[in-house]
């Protein structure tokens, strides 16, 4: 196993530390595949994932949240930056510097759950094969009986009937398939689970089941989650901390409640305002409707990438790229935002439940 030679000052509670992560994709054209530009999918992203917490990466399509998660498990090799991962008291290892073979140990501890359980499960394999495959590859089981026993245990863990282990995925509904995907992800007793839009394709009644299951499993097994999602209400329910991404950068990161009630970046404010709430009283509320669309990461505007859609933008925003800086928060939980005017803007977060007696035009 490769350990980094230099002593890395990783926070005690930190299990994964993402440092200056960059992922660029070349834009090529023509027969000679001449490079004419670059898509800055992830552009200098920094964050720590602490043991036992759920950190959410939120943002709209193309913001780089999925690419970031892929760069963590080295499914895509980052262009630059480091991904430090530490198991227990061992020295942190830099996953970006490791060869494929060396990554096996790390990947055993960082598992993924994907959005669509219809395409992430092989339709020609039984549950026993799907869930048992990682156990066989990592030579954890002794024999077939041992395998069956462990798979049965995993199925019970995700509240599925162990007697179904010889059936194929088509016999299960979307929510049940997602349970199967979770069982597979947990088969190697990982430390970290990256859930990439894991509940987005599910109906709300089933989504709630999976959200609660993930929380129960976290408490039971001490898991750490990186929760990649676009639905702000789901993130509010599931995450301890939230990182909001826009055009390849983190624009705000902080403790969930603080970020939702007291956002410090105009993009976060707009996202919160735009999220529809299932309460007809809020329909008369003034919403911030952003004009235009998400910036094209292949052709980013200068200065702050959000400035063309920002209602507070000034000249400085068009020229200078804002850094992610501290904007308060508590000693244990920092709150950072990348906005030149984070200190002076008065932004609106989620409001309390609107009192119905008042006619609901708050």
């Amino acid at each position: 196993m490769t350990t980094t030679t230099r002593a890395e000052n990783m926070n005690e509670r930190t299990i994964i530390s993402v440092r200056n992560l960059v992922k660029h994709f070349p834009i090529e054209t023509g027969f000679l595949r001449r490079q004419v530009g670059v898509v800055k999918a992830v552009d200098n992203v920094n964050f720590d994932l602490n043991e036992g917490e759920t950190l959410a990466l939120v943002g709209e399509s193309g913001c780089g949240k999925t690419t970031t998660s892929h760069c963590i498990i080295q499914a895509q090799r980052p262009t630059a930056g480091r991904v430090l991962f530490r198991i227990g008291d061992a020295d942190p290892m830099d996953l970006t510097q490791m060869e494929k073979g060396e990554l096996k140990e790390a990947r055993r501890n960082i598992r993924m759950i994907y959005q669509d359980p219809y395409s992430s499960l092989n339709p020609r394999m039984t549950l026993l094969q799907i869930i048992g495959e990682p156990l066989v590859i990592h030579r954890i089981v002794k024999d077939q009986d041992d395998l069956q026993e462990r798979v049965a245990e995993l199925l019970r863990l995700v509240r599925l009937d162990p007697s179904t282990m010889n059936r194929y995925p088509h016999a299960f509904s979307g929510g049940q398939r997602q349970r199967i995907a979770i069982a597979r992800a947990l088969s190697l007793s990982p430390k970290v689970v990256i859930a990439d839009e894991a509940v987005s394709a599910l109906d709300v009644s089933v989504q709630a089941q999976i959200l609660n299951l993930l929380k129960e499993l976290q408490n039971q097994l001490g898991l750490t989650y990186l929760f990649v999602a676009h639905n702000l209400a789901v993130v509010k329910y599931e995450a301890d901390r939230v990182a909001v991404m826009y055009a390849g950068k983190i624009v705000e990161i902080g403790e969930t409640e603080a970020l939702y009630t007291n956002p410090r970046h105009p993009y976060t404010e707009a996202l919160i305002s735009a999220a529809p709430n299932p309460d007809p009283d809020t329909k008369h509320r003034e919403r911030i409707v952003l004009s235009g669309e998400v910036a094209d990461p292949g052709n980013l505007p200068g200065g702050c990438a959000f400035h063309p859609r920002c209602r507070y933008a000034e000249d400085r925003c068009r020229q200078e790229t804002p850094e992610l800086i501290d904007v308060g928060g508590s000693e244990t939980q920092s709150h950072q935002a990348a906005c030149h005017f984070a200190d002076s803007l008065e932004l609106t977060g989620i409001a309390g439940p609107i009192l119905r007696e008042e006619g609901g035009s708050a």
């Binding site: 709300v204 089941q209 709430n277 309460d279 007809p280 409707v289």
Partner: protein
């Protein structure tokens, strides 16, 4: 029964103009749409009734498989080949004539006249509404000229005007663009322009904001609200997202496995939900409110559509299940308040059993 006879084949009898629809623009009565396949029959819509008044926004909500999209496809008669309307009426008030869309020939003159002109539809994926090899403008102009007798120039002007109304940044230029050159949000707007180009009386929106980002969704909802106020058409908004329903609609019908479970104003249904399914749905959505708000999932899974439960379709997952009643009988619709109907034995209907 004569189930198959009412399918897609031509039945030339014109619906009797039974003296208006009590002011409604569309009246769906006991609609039954079934799908026939080798595995059996799926009763995708099984006895659904509702009215849409001119200028009102009705929401139809429910989870996958509840029949909300099949209901809209039945109205426009654009069902997949194996889907058939086997019962009920879809009465549409067109000028002074009442037409039963359920019995008209799906490919006939009457429906082709109504589709796109009087009743238009927008879809989840704008690329499916457009042809990729024609410009946006050509497709809008074609639609206008099919339904109206206007010159090419006039149709062109109308198309530009409609693109301007839906907020395209540069309508005179956008009209000559192909859809693949437009961004996702602009495509959605172009699709709305196409569907509204003939000023329909009714717009059916089937999950129009499901595939877009939340900021674009907010733009779409604002657009639909503005356009509705501007042009005054009625809208049927079909979605699984109760947030969108609360935001946009006046009345809502909640469906589960082809049945209507609750129906009323959005205020009634969201603030005073009665049916255990509606209550369960609302309780399972994470809220955008400060502090910890717990969510409670509905237990179990949606049953296999080929083997539906007997009695109330929700009884297998219902926390308030009444043994001996719910699994035996179909609950009738009961009015719990004016204009607020629930199909659940908790609110009566047991006395109406034999």
């Amino acid at each position: 029964m004569s189930e198959l006879q009412r399918g897609g084949t031509a039945t030339d009898e014109l619906a009797p103009p039974a003296g208006g629809l009590n002011g409604a623009l569309l009246s769906v009565r006991n609609l039954q749409t079934h799908f026939f396949s080798r595995e059996g029959v799926v009763k995708a819509v099984d006895g659904v009734s509702f009215d849409v008044k001119p200028g009102e926004i009705l929401g139809i909500a429910g989870e996958s498989g509840c029949g909300k999209s099949v209901t809209s496809q039945s109205i426009l008669r654009i069902l997949p080949r194996n889907g058939k309307i086997v019962g009920g009426e879809i009465l549409f008030q067109n000028e002074d004539q009442t037409i039963d869309l359920a019995t008209e020939d799906a490919d006939g003159r009457v429906l082709r006249d109504i589709r796109g002109k009087d009743i238009a539809m927008i879809f989840q994926e704008p690329m499916t509404a457009f042809s990729p090899v024609h410009t946006v403008g050509d497709q809008i102009i074609e639609t206008i000229r099919i339904h109206q007798e206007v010159s090419k120039e006039e149709a062109h002007d109308q198309a530009v005007e409609m693109l301007r109304r839906v907020g395209m940044p540069n309508p005179a230029r956008n009209i000559d663009e192909y859809t693949f050159n437009l961004s996702g949000g602009m495509r959605q707007r172009a699709m709305v322009a196409l569907s509204l180009s003939c000023r329909p009386k009714l717009l059916i929106a089937d999950e129009p904001t499901t595939a877009v980002d939340v900021t674009i969704q907010a733009q779409m909802l604002e657009l639909l609200r503005d356009i509705q106020a501007d042009l005054g058409m009625a809208i049927i908004m079909i979605t699984h997202d109760l947030g969108v329903i609360a935001e946009l609609t006046d009345r809502v019908m909640i469906m589960y496995l082809g049945k209507e479970v609750e129906h009323g104003t959005v205020e009634d249904v969201f603030h005073r939900p009665q049916h255990p399914y509606t209550r369960g749905l609302l309780a399972s959505i994470p809220k955008m409110e400060p502090g910890r708000v717990e969510i409670e999932p509905i237990e179990g899974v949606v049953p296999n559509p080929y083997a539906l439960p007997t009695g109330c379709k929700f009884h297998t997952r219902c926390p308030d299940f009444i043994a001996g009643v719910c699994e035996k009988h179909d609950p009738p619709l009961t009015e719990v308040a004016k204009g607020h109907e629930v199909s659940c034995f908790l609110y009566g209907g047991r006395d109406r059993l034999e």
